[in-house]
Symmetry: C2
Subunit: 324 residues, 2 copies
Amino acid sequence: MHTIPQLQKLITDALAVKKYGSTPVELYEPIDYIMSLGGKRLRPCLVLMACDLFGGDVDQAIQPALAIEVFHNFTLMHDDIMDKAPLRRGKQTVHEKWNPNIAILAGDVMMVEANKLMMQVNDSILRQVLDTFNDTAVGVCEGQQIDMNFETQDNVDIAAYVNMIRLKTAVLLGGALKIGAIIGGAGADDASLLYDFGVQLGIAFQLQDDILDVYGDPEKFGKQVGGDILSNKKTFLLIKALELAQGDTLTELNHWLSATDYNPAEKVAAVKAIYNQLSVKEQAEEEMNKYARMAISNLRWIGLDEERKSIIAHFADDLLVREH
Amino acid sequence: MHTIPQLQKLITDALAVKKYGSTPVELYEPIDYIMSLGGKRLRPCLVLMACDLFGGDVDQAIQPALAIEVFHNFTLMHDDIMDKAPLRRGKQTVHEKWNPNIAILAGDVMMVEANKLMMQVNDSILRQVLDTFNDTAVGVCEGQQIDMNFETQDNVDIAAYVNMIRLKTAVLLGGALKIGAIIGGAGADDASLLYDFGVQLGIAFQLQDDILDVYGDPEKFGKQVGGDILSNKKTFLLIKALELAQGDTLTELNHWLSATDYNPAEKVAAVKAIYNQLSVKEQAEEEMNKYARMAISNLRWIGLDEERKSIIAHFADDLLVREH
């Protein structure tokens, strides 16, 4: 078994030598650029980790792992256009540095590149791996559309929200693990259990992100704390607060949601005070812990010895106490 | 062997019952919409025709043929955003009818859908089919980027132009034929010859389109005759004219290219007169015929009887005398 840092090094080494194409340069420079912006490389690591867990040869999982990372960055490139985001990991987004047309087309070719990388598996598992990948990709697109719909939708409830983050964020973690498991030689049942583990962990992970966006340590969080509040983003916290608030509290919350001229720090502090009053942080943590427990419970049925399974359980624990 | 109308009917029948997904509707309605706009369904027909040519079961080629048509429409949906095109086949483009974000995301999910459809082949040829499809898709993206580069590029020569149309238009015709051939049981050499036939035919087809945009019968052409002249599009005709024009003719051509305030009919007539003076139409026809002959010459080496090969040769002839 490899340690997480060992697996991460395999990914960064493989990414460092990966070439995406040469001409026309306008198409391939943005790909080199976004892929070089870094990040935790969590998703490709999950592919290797799952392969390793089932005793597979992690070298055989490296190109499919890169496929997951290229696919993830393709979705970020297109999402940033849709969100008109100026920055990604503190650097200019591709549509800002070049233009939206280049970001559309470079994203498209990344999707094809991801497919090519994903095909670098044995013939005997090719169809199973690609089916998993395609289902995952459809889910991610559906999740992004539902998220965009939420921006103009009044009645978003917790169930709809959890379904959105399941599709937009969690199925890719599940898909990465399942693909790694298949490459590692896991049977269909075990691969499916690891997929469910990944999806539920992914939901917990996103709920934690919602909490950290309001309650995180600004030194460690990486993004602007309070960003979700300022953009009225329908997170678990806001949806729950709108569900629970009554009387003056509801009036005040709605005032801040419709305010156009305000002091940002004042809005963040006021909405946070309402969240505190309604204990929505505690409820988000409870929901997060529920999904984390559900995730872990899948591991019980996987046909591996406890020591191996404890590695992935510890990984889940580590992921959910991060402060950035 | 099937006739072309029989194959076209197989495609339209399969498209009529094809479902792309249901929720969120914002993602799938634009797909149903663009797929229902019609068109000649040339590319999926090539898949069936190639399969039929090698004695394959055309029913087994229908889903991969739809994959090619879905992929083609995905590229149209994204190209229309990049070109800010208001109309496609006389109807509103997706980014106009909905918005650019929806057109980006619906296009993305169409790309995944195309992959899923393309996987509906036997395991024994799955890798070969997908490799061909991925290489084709990369080529189409590269061609679109080179075409966008041409808009702001001063020195585009004929070789660069032919390379652009090879990638943007022709490789998809070649890819469609090669995939059909593989499904039909063709050997690697025959599949490759049919690919080359398709690419060269595609170049001839695009050169004919350049000619028809200026010299076509407005009743039959479908698009606005003179559209390329009005948008200063760098077609074979314009590139050749800029190469040949001298003295006053060159001055006049450059005047029209830089003019901002003009009568459209006057500009079309004036540029067409320059084309006539320089005989660029005849040179475009010569180039078109050269590629048509090269296309047909590949057929000689394909291991099929002459009668079968004559069907595809006649198809090429028919394609190149169209006036619309």
